[in-house]
């Protein structure tokens, strides 16, 4: 299932993976100092396809003046085209009637458009001159202005075409660089994650409504005693559900922001060579001198559709050199934060006996990985320089080390001859895949640190319910209320009136 190494599953990808902001910043950045479209009066337009020379460019217009723009620029004086149907027209300058281009126009009347407003799309030829001319023509009409970054989405959001999680999903979709990221973002945008949180929020609302009914009405009314037992169960289940969701080991977030893979090991083991071999370019300086790499070298990769941030570190050794000591400190720091550590060992240093070799490797791992990383599940042992082994020594070592318990997966490679590299990439791909999970199967995964924080508050608040359930129902209810508020920060707030509505739907209440 893995395509050949050289067919580009190891696309050395751009560095932008790193530069993308934290999730919350993204949403906030939409509003940083940018005018917003509460603007019922304003019509916005922008080039919606990418910049640069291309076959077709799409210019999108949204707002009340869209129809006028369409009429005057596509020469449609009498009637508008049928909704959502492509029409080939000459596109003209509204005043001079000079033909700018010939292209497709599409008419999306409100509310059936992305933004929920009247919208028009011009599909024109993608030359810079054509695009500039069309944008200038649009800008010359009254009530029209160029859209700010993200403004179409913001309008869609305000028209309640998208929920907050969907907006975040859309943002991710636009920024998705790898296949798996695209799938996860699309899934979030289609509302899967939103629905999961909505569902929890709905359950919590009912819990709160039932506790509140028990507080406000049970003295006068025949509120069944079983009500609270039901709430107990729901709260328990919800707590378990949310905790399970939180214990996804950050799979979704990892997929969103890239898996941190760190190469570590003793000096001169070939760490930088490994980095260069994986990237297929000389990203790090390689030399036979021990201690060549002193700082952290990072590169972003797409491995079988998963985003990986590969980091090369300084070789771990005690050094009197201040600069190198700092490099080693940074290396250890990176290893501690890593999702996956590739421990590189020079084969030539291994004892020839397999048992001794295993003991040596284990001790070596202990010197590199932090204590918390044991047993070493998030680690691959890379035995480099197999080209230096004689004859069948390589096979024997491979065969024998596989039978040793307690060692992480072992890969024997030679960065010099590329021997064993393909197998190593397969192992790496599988590890990364496990770390990210399959974005399409099972429950939607948590993608944003912001969601995680709110969900954690939610779980803590539910514990308050348990704590006070038998001694003070008002404080127990307060716990459920807090949990609902935390969840509401992701899905939208819940007011007291809504709780009362549920109470009256679910119970036979009357003084």
């Amino acid at each position: 299932m893995l395509p050949s190494v050289h067919r580009g599953i190891l696309k050395a990808a751009v560095h932008t993976l790193r530069t993308r902001g934290a999730p919350l910043n993204r949403v906030m950045s939409i509003c940083d100092g940018v005018p917003v479209g509460l603007a019922d009066a304003e019509t916005i337009f922008a080039l919606s396809s990418g910049h640069g020379r291309c076959g077709v460019a799409v210019v999108r217009v949204s707002g009340p003046a869209s129809a006028t723009a369409l009429r005057s620029m596509a020469g449609l004086t009498r009637s508008l085209p049928p909704p959502r149907t492509a029409l080939l027209r000459s596109i003209t300058e509204p005043q001079s009637k000079e033909v700018l281009d010939r292209g497709l126009v599409l008419w999306f009347p409100a509310p059936h458009s992305f933004t929920g407003e009247d919208s028009v799309e011009f599909h024109i030829h993608g030359g810079p001159a054509v695009i500039t001319a069309v944008l200038q023509a649009l800008g010359s009409m009254p009530g029209m202005r160029p859209a700010e970054a993200g403004e179409f989405t913001r309008r869609a959001f305000q028209a309640e075409k998208l929920g907050l999680t969907e907006v975040e999903g859309l943002g991710d979709l636009i920024h998705a660089e790898t296949e798996a990221q695209r799938r996860q973002a699309l899934r979030q945008m289609s509302g899967d994650l939103g629905r999961l949180y909505q569902d929890w929020s709905h359950k919590l609302k009912r819990c709160l409504a039932h506790v509140e009914a028990f507080i406000d009405f049970s003295e006068d009314e025949l509120i069944e005693d079983g009500v609270l037992t039901q709430v107990d169960k729901s709260v328990c289940d919800l707590q378990a559900d949310i905790e399970r969701h939180l214990k996804d080991e950050r799979r979704g977030e990892r997929l969103r922001s890239g898996v941190q893979v760190v190469i570590a090991g003793a000096t001169n083991a070939g760490k930088s060579s490994l980095l260069n071999t994986i990237c297929q370019r000389p990203a790090a300086i390689v030399s036979p001198i021990a201690g060549t790499t002193r700082d952290v070298v990072e590169t972003a990769l797409d491995i079988g559709g998963f985003p990986v941030l590969l980091t090369d570190t300084a070789g771990l050794r005690d050094s009197p050199d201040l600069v190198e000591r700092e490099g080693v400190r940074r290396a250890r720091e990176r290893v501690e934060q890593a999702d996956l550590t590739l421990v590189v060992v020079d084969c030539a240093h291994l004892p020839s006996d397999a048992q001794e070799a295993a003991a040596f490797l284990l001790a070596h791992l202990k010197s590199i990985l932090p204590e918390t990383a044991f047993p070493p599940t998030r680690c691959l042992l890379v035995l480099n320089k197999t080209d230096l082994l004689h004859g069948d020594q390589r096979q024997k070592l491979d065969w024998e080390l596989r039978r040793v318990c307690g060692l992480p997966p072992v890969c024997l490679i030679s960065c010099h001859t590329n021997e064993g590299l393909q197998d190593f990439v397969t192992v790496l791909h599988n590890s990364v895949k496990t770390l990210c999970g399959d974005p399409l199967s099972g429950a939607p995964t948590l993608t944003q640190a912001r969601h995680r924080a709110h969900l954690q508050q939610c779980v803590t608040a539910l514990a308050q319910y348990q704590q006070y359930r038998d001694t003070d129902l008002a404080l127990a209810a307060e716990g459920v209320r807090l949990a609902l508020t935390s969840l509401g920060r992701i899905t939208g707030r819940v007011g007291p009136e809504e709780i009362l509505d549920i109470i009256f739907k679910d119970f036979c209440i009357g003084k």
Binding site: P35, L38, D216, D220, L222, D472, L475, I499, G510
Partner: protein, 696 residues
């Protein structure tokens, strides 16, 4: 306090006739129309504030009448009674005077939701209220019917389209002028009574209907939007005709807890309290309801009735096949009647008799007065300010059922606050609002004016977001101090008592805090308590008090020298210790809301000329709706969808942010905004406002 009241009661009643006989003056600061729960509190509060006040009511002897159930307080409502008392209102003390069955509901569910409640002796309650009012300095009571409101041009210095100048009484052109008027007409505004297929005008059986002139002034002259609601009352049952062996008696609390912070005991002796009885409906009841439906025109109409206190007809129709509770409540020490709570009905009297005889214990029961339904106009309360003043009419205040609420306590709470503000208006003081973060009264008023009502509004504890802080036990700390220092409606006697309580509680908590021992030492002092903490941790007295089984008395007997002088406050200290942490948690959210509440939007802003990007439609709605504050309200129930859309878009808040920016730079009144104001900054603010709503 109580005994003094008893001795002076009769002399007050004598005074009443004298007061009512001749009207001393033609000019008052405040006129209160209506003598129900809202009117009584309004008149008393206005007079306490120092305003010359006139209370106009149809009959003096119906002031303080309990038109429906003979009880006060309950869950949520009890909070209101405590708060009214904390602001020196009447109903708490009246309840202590007239109560004949005291109990605290929700006793097991935590002190934040305790519901102090009492069955009342109707006669005693009325007497107390009348004596209080007639003995209040600066308050005159006048029998009469108000024909119309006197309205004139507004004071241009203040927002509003009209200004009220007084009232005109029926029978003749007798006019009385006042700077402010409080309307508390209850169910009398275009009220009609329903029983079976007969309908007659009126707001309560046995009382004359109010004049159509008032309703006309409100709608036609002042242009107020009104809606219609309905309510009902059950038939009264002859006590001797009930077989008490078939109903379940319910006992009151052994030690009655007074409503009022000023009382240490109630008038009724614990052992003299009366009993309540519980019975329930049967399938026969449902049958009678169904058979009489065609004779029941009240139930056939779709005017909104209270969801919370439905008639027996709507209960069995909505939830058929179940037994519904019916409480038989005493009407008074000397009364021969019982009040069957849960049996409000509007069918013809003969069918009513058939119905109640289907209920266990009432097979031979007799009806003294049949039940009936009332439909009445209410003024959509979104047209009111947080001071309960009609936004468009200077000096006109509304309180009680006229604002769409149900219940004595809700009415009294509004009455008090409307009275306070009517007096403040008359005395040229700025209006005051109570925050929903500091009181149930604030929650009530805020819900009314910002959400409006679609059915009669009743208080529940679940309406208060900050329930852990707004407890019945601390209403005095929350309101009495403010009531004296800022509002002016609290007597210095009550204030001094509240200060003493506050200081003692603070001292006691400080003493508990300094009482620090290690866990084993605590175990030595309190051998019966299991202390789970590890040996090395040291615990304070406050920590210990949070233990479920530790009471303040236990600590006081272990450390008599420093704690025994606070045993008077044992219960309050225990509650404070347990709730302290949770109240601290709420503080931040409370501060945020208070900040929003304090961002008052000027009422005279011109939404049409605001240089913000708003459609004409939105401008028109804002102009009509005139939000009072920049508060975000995503759950606004105004049916107009567009308003909801705006609300969702936090337009109000945006508007506010903009204005708060502007008002820093411009004179506050009559905002006049230059066209070229820092457009960019404005846009940022708007964006933030919208995203705050979603991200917060």
């Amino acid at each position: 306090m109580l005994t003094k009241k008893l001795s002076t009661l009769h002399s007050f009643l004598l005074l009443a006739s004298r007061r009512a006989g001749h009207l001393a003056r033609q000019q008052y600061d405040v006129i209160v129309v209506g003598g129900g729960h809202a009117g009584a509190e309004a008149a008393a509060a206005a007079a306490r504030m120092g305003a010359e006040t006139l209370l106009v009511t149809q009959k003096i002897h119906t002031i303080g009448v309990l038109s429906c159930n003979p009880s006060l307080g309950g869950i949520g409502k009890g909070h209101l009674v405590k708060e009214i008392d904390a602001l020196d209102g009447l109903c708490g003390r009246a309840g202590d005077w007239a109560g004949i069955y005291f109990s605290i509901l929700n006793r097991k569910k935590g002190p934040a939701v305790w519901g102090p409640r009492a069955q009342l002796d109707r006669q005693r309650y009325r007497e107390f209220i009348q004596a209080e009012l007639l003995g209040t300095p600066r308050l005159t009571v006048l029998e009469g019917s108000v024909e119309e409101l006197q309205v004139t041009e507004p004071n241009p210095e203040e927002p509003g389209h009209h200004r009220v100048t007084g009232i005109r009484l029926a029978n003749g052109s007798h006019q009385i002028s006042a700077r402010s008027v409080v309307l508390t007409t209850g169910t009398f505004l275009s009220g009609s009574l329903f029983m079976g297929q007969t309908t007659s005008p009126g707001g309560r059986i046995g009382d004359a209907p109010s004049s159509a002139g008032l309703s006309y002034t409100l709608q036609e002259r002042l242009g107020l939007r009104v809606g219609r609601l309905r309510t009902g009352t059950p038939p009264r049952i002859v006590k001797d005709s009930v077989d008490f062996s078939l109903v379940e008696p319910h006992l009151p609390d052994k030690h009655p807890t007074p409503f009022s912070f000023l009382n240490t005991h109630v008038r009724c002796k614990p052992e003299e309290q009366l009993l309540c009885y519980l019975t329930c409906t049967t399938p026969g009841v449902e049958r009678v309801v169904r058979e009489s439906l065609h004779l029941n025109c009240h139930i056939q109409q779709d005017t909104k009735g209270p969801r919370y206190c439905p008639s027996i007809e709507s209960r069995v129709l909505r939830f058929p096949g179940r037994a519904h509770q019916v409480w038989l409540e005493p009407e008074g020490v000397n009364s021969d009647l019982l009040y069957p709570q849960g049996l409000s009905m509007t069918m013809p009297p003969d069918m009513q008799l058939l119905l109640i005889r289907e209920i266990p214990g009432m097979q031979r029961a007799e009806i003294h007065t049949p039940g009936y339904g009332v439909q009445y106009d209410f003024v959509c309360p979104t047209q009111l300010s947080p001071a309960l003043q009609v936004k468009s009419t200077q000096g006109l205040f509304l309180a009680g059922q006229i604002n769409g609420t149900t219940g004595y306590e809700e009415a009294a709470a509004q009455g008090l606050w409307a009275g306070v503000n009517a007096a403040r208006w008359a005395l040229s003081m700025p209006p005051l609002a109570l925050s929903r973060t500091e009181s149930y009264i604030g929650v009530l008023i805020d819900d009314l004016i910002s959400r409006g009502v679609t059915e009669p509004y009743r208080m529940f504890t679940s309406r208060a977001e900050f329930r852990a802080s707004l407890r019945p036990d601390n209403a005095d700390l929350r309101l009495t101090l403010k009531g004296f220092e800022e509002v002016g409606c609290v007597s210095s006697l009550r204030y001094q008592e509240a200060v003493r309580v506050r200081d003692s509680l603070q001292e006691a908590l400080a003493a508990l805090q300094t009482l620090t021992l290690s866990a084993p030492n605590w175990t030595k002092k309190l051998p019966n308590i299991r202390i789970s903490e590890v040996k090395t941790t040291s615990l304070t007295g406050v920590d210990l008090l949070q233990y479920r089984d530790v009471s303040f008395e236990m600590l006081a007997s272990a450390f008599p020298e420093c704690l025994s002088r606070f045993t008077e406050f044992s219960q309050r200290l225990k509650i404070e210790a347990v709730y302290r942490f949770h109240c601290e948690l709420q503080k931040k959210e409370i501060e945020r809301i208070q900040k929003e509440e304090n961002m008052a939007l000027p009422q005279d802003i011109d939404y049409f000329s605001l240089p913000v990007s708003l459609s004409q439609e939105v401008r028109e709605i804002l102009d009509r709706f005139r939000p009072s504050t920049g508060k975000r309200r995503e759950d606004h129930a105004e049916t107009n969808q567009t308003i909801r859309r705006i609300e969702k878009r936090s337009c109000v808040q945006e508007m506010h942010l903009y204005l708060s920016e502007m008002t820093d730079k411009l004179p506050c009144k009559g905002v006049c905004i230059p066209q070229n104001v820092q457009n960019n900054k404005l846009k940022c603010l708007r964006t933030c406002a919208i995203f705050m709503f979603y991200i917060r």
